[in-house]
């Protein structure tokens, strides 16, 4: 990641990785906002129910 520019996961601003104590965020602020979102369980992965139901079938032999 050296020298690479990424984007702040919260505000989308370009972020430098080097000498940035808040990496991958742009600021202390955005890092805290992110932490609060984790702790208030706002970060969700949403899955269609049928995908999980399909999982119960036995998969025999090879690729799915």
């Amino acid at each position: 990641m050296a020298g690479k520019l990424t984007r702040c996961p919260v505000c989308g601003k370009p972020v430098s990785w080097e000498e940035n104590p808040y990496r991958p965020f742009c600021s202390r602020r955005c890092k805290l906002v992110d932490l609060d979102l984790w702790l208030s369980e706002e970060y969700r992965i949403s899955v269609p129910r049928e995908v999980l139901e399909d999982e119960t079938e036995e998969v025999e032999g090879g690729k799915v």
Binding site: M1, P24, R28, V33, D34, S40, I45, S46, P48
Partner: protein
């Protein structure tokens, strides 16, 4: 409306005695502030005339001899004889303390000069002063020396204009050798120009020849834009509110920016109230109330914006100017810069609240941006509090550890300790049995399932689990996080090879990437590699890590019965094997890209058109050419626009509804992806074989294809089918399907296992995927997930 402004409107309060004896009592100090105060006093009188509606031009001249002139085009100070004093009203105004039209509310509704003491003080503190009045066709003049008239008011000529011109030289006996500071004067004039958009201000400095004009039709809105000029505003449109009640006019303009500081300027009758006061309190209360009301009530606002704001949240990144005009302001505070009138708070509050609610309602997109901004401030405040709480409560951390969730190990040296983060309770159970308890600790994490809708479920890491993770690591969280304190040097994520596992893994990787970045940078985070397949052939069991290993195994078995002919040439067996492995590699790389929403055909178009590096997208004409190719293949193509990833490059969106809705961006970012590099690598290896007819004999069966790539999946599936004969292949869906000894042997035993060390780049990719999966509910994204969700079960990192 226009009241007579004659000598009878001037009331005399007291004489000028004492002003020269105790100047600081009247103008604060005899330093630079007091010195400039003289000019403000005269200037305020001119602005008052403008506020009353009689003047629209004010000129300030700084002369070479140290004197200054303020000239307005108002009505001119009355010169007729004052009924009580027996001298001209001009002389009364200039020589009697606290004399002036402003003390009589009928003449001026509001006025600015009140924080001062009247122009008579300026006169008393000036070596000399000349007042010139243009009024009713005549020009009058009176000169004063240290406040004392040198003679009566003289009529010195005729005029077409009206107005007052005061020239004065501050007395060196009082102020010593001081000069007017151009920058200070300029700043005040600009400020007045913002506050009084109807007035043109001119400034000339005869000492330097500098000359400027200040006139801002946009008023407070322009003021806020000026203050925010070097910042990045959160919303484009400046919020402007104005209202009048009980003779009080309230004007507010505000705009949020991306910084953290608050910039608030509050004025009462053009006086900058540096210490705030009741108008500022009313404004702040209204702002917090209105934004809270909006967050609670606005339709279509995402749930994560439903937060209760506190006063400090709405102050962050706020740039606001408040200007009120009122009769009888009472100033308090150490420097008399604080408004004290208690009736102003509710008045300002209700005008601002109503105005703000209206603005938020009428400007939904600006409202949404403002809401997001202030909610972020609230979240940061909350997070800092929670992080302190988690980190501080040593007792609670111990409780978590002893509550039985974490199965501790015996080793004390962090260098030797390993922490397995295991998905699910049952897997956690077998991991607990399988582990070497001397140095391997187990923390089961299952994620929390939320049923939000009938058709779908949401998965989160519960806050409880995050707390357990934080407590287990012992390195704190948020501002207090310190990787050195981590109680483990190997943290190993061990999840099932199913959708659930992939999701927990993505969540954990994203969490580590964002909140414990250093753990990844130091190389302490790993992913366990449980076998994906158990292959049973007679009495022999073989564990295979992934699809590539399975393919290699199957190809070996099938090879004896496979003949591959490319063009006229039949490939020898080892070459056939290599070609098949490259084909399988290409297939995997393409399907990984497909999981990220980019269909194989799209990728192959790029490869064939030679768009294999980011800088290939720099040539706009070539990129346009590329859109034509996509269009010919039946894709809908968006506008070619400058890339957001690379400054010099171009990109465009491609959409297809064939075989499920697909939308992806074609631009310089694509060739930089690891999967894309993989595609190129395998494609390159296969290149010598392309463009030739392919004939595959598998046992009795023969197939013919135009080319290796067009036959890709059918060639591979035929060979695999043959290789699979006589085998029983079990695909492990969960760690729980292995018994503890199998789990130990294949996955946990340091002697035999392979661990994948997580690199920052891997975690960044997980973050990206996570963002795609969780982002706000946008229709294309939902369809994307529905189309490709099946693919996620094999999500790799």
């Amino acid at each position: 409306m226009v009241q007579a402004y004659g000598a009878e409107a001037i009331r005399v309060l007291s004489g000028l005695e004492g002003v020269r004896v105790r100047p600081a009592m009247y103008i604060g100090s005899t330093g630079p502030e007091g010195f400039h105060h003289l000019l403000w006093e005269v200037l305020d009188n001119a602005v008052d005339e403008a506020l009353a509606g009689y003047c629209d031009r004010i000129r300030v001249i700084l002369h070479a001899d140290g004197s200054a002139t303020v000239e307005d085009n108002g009505r001119g100070i009355p010169v007729d004889i004052h009924p009580q004093e027996g001298v001209s009203a001009l002389e009364v105004v200039m020589t009697r303390l606290h004399a002036g039209g402003k003390f009589e509310k009928t003449a001026y509704k509001v006025s600015g000069g009140l924080h001062g003491v009247g122009v008579s003080v300026v006169n008393a503190l000036s070596e000399w002063l000349v007042a010139e009045v243009h009024r009713e066709g005549r020009i009058y003049r009176q000169r004063y020396s240290r406040g004392v008239p040198e003679g009566p008011v003289e009529e010195i000529g005729r005029t077409q204009r009206s107005g007052t011109r005061i020239t004065f030289k501050p007395d060196p006996e009082i102020f010593g050798e001081q000069e007017f500071d151009y920058q200070v004067v300029r700043h005040r004039l600009r400020e007045l120009a913002f506050l009084n958009p109807q007035v043109r201000f001119y400034l000339r400095d005869e000492r330097s020849g500098a000359e400027e004009k200040f006139h801002f039709r946009g008023g407070l809105v322009e003021f806020v834009q000026h203050l925010n000029r070097k910042r990045e505003p959160v919303h484009r449109k400046v919020v402007y509110i104005s209202g009048e009640r009980d003779l009080v006019q309230v004007e507010v303009a505000l705009q949020y920016h991306n910084g953290y500081t608050e910039t608030l300027y509050a004025y009462v009758n053009n006086i900058h109230t540096r210490e705030g006061g009741t108008h500022v309190v009313g404004f702040r209360t209204a702002l917090t109330r209105a934004l809270n009301r909006y967050l609670a009530g606005a339709e279509g606002l995402p749930k994560n914006l439903r937060v209760k704001l506190e006063g400090e949240d709405v102050r962050e990144g706020l740039c606001a100017v408040i200007s009120i005009r009122m009769p009888d302001p009472q100033f308090e505070g150490q420097t008399k810069m604080k408004l004290g009138n208690s009736e102003i708070k509710p008045l300002v509050e209700s005008i601002v609240f109503e105005g703000l609610m209206r603005f938020l309602e009428e400007n939904p997109s600006e409202a949404r941006r403002i809401a997001t901004r202030v909610v972020q401030a609230a979240r940061a405040r909350e997070a800092a509090r929670k992080a302190r709480e988690i980190a501080r409560k040593k007792g609670e951390a111990l409780e978590v550890l002893t509550a039985g969730k974490l199965a501790e190990c015996q080793e004390k040296d962090p260098e030797k300790r390993e922490l397995f983060l295991v998905e699910g309770d049952s897997a956690g159970g077998s991991a607990k049995q399988a582990r070497d308890r001397r140095f391997q600790a187990i923390l089961p994490l299952r994620g929390k399932i939320l049923n939000v809708e009938k058709a779908r479920i949401d998965k989160v890491l519960s806050s409880e689990e995050i707390k357990q993770l934080v407590a287990s690591l012992g390195a704190g969280i948020g501002p207090d996080f310190d990787a050195d304190r981590s109680r483990f040097r190997r943290i190993i994520i061990m999840t099932d090879a199913d959708v659930d596992g992939a999701h927990i893994r993505t969540l954990l990787l994203t969490f580590f990437y964002r909140q414990m970045t250093e753990i990844i940078e130091r190389g302490w985070l790993y992913i366990a590699q449980p076998p994906l397949y158990r292959v049973n052939e007679g009495k022999k069991d073989v564990y295979l890590k992934d699809d590539a290993e399975l393919d290699a195994y199957l190809f070996t078995r099938a090879l004896k019965q496979v003949k591959l002919k490319v063009g006229e040439r039949e490939l020898p067996s080892p070459e056939t094997r290599t070609v098949l492995e490259h084909l399988a590699g290409l297939e995997r790389a393409l399907s990984e890209l497909l999981r990220r929403g980019i269909p194989p055909e799209g990728v192959l178009i790029l490869v064939r058109q030679g768009f294999t590096r980011a800088d290939h997208f720099d040539d706009e004409e070539r990129v346009r050419e590329l859109t034509r190719v996509f269009r010919e293949r039946g894709y809908a193509v968006g506008r070619v626009k400058p890339s957001t990833h690379r400054e010099s490059a171009y990109e465009f969106e491609v959409t297809s509804s064939r075989g499920g809705y697909v939308s992806f961006s074609v631009g310089p970012e694509l060739p930089t992806r690891r999967e894309f590099r993989e595609v190129l690598r395998y494609y390159g290896k296969l290149e010598p074989y392309l463009g030739k007819e392919v004939r595959l004999e598998v046992g009795e069966d023969t197939g013919v294809w135009e080319d290796l790539v067009s036959g890709l999946s059918s060639i591979l599936s035929r060979v695999r089918e043959l290789g699979r004969k006589g085998l029983h292949i079990q695909r492990y869906k969960g760690l729980g399907e292995m018994n503890p000894s199998q789990l130990w042997e294949t996955t946990m035993d340091p002697e035999r296992r392979t661990l994948l060390r997580v690199e920052v780049q891997d975690a960044a990719e997980a973050d990206e995927l996570f963002t795609t999966l969780m982002g706000e509910k946008v229709e294309p994204r939902r369809e994307f997930i529905q189309t490709h969700a099946m693919e996620y079960r094999e999500l790799d990192v």
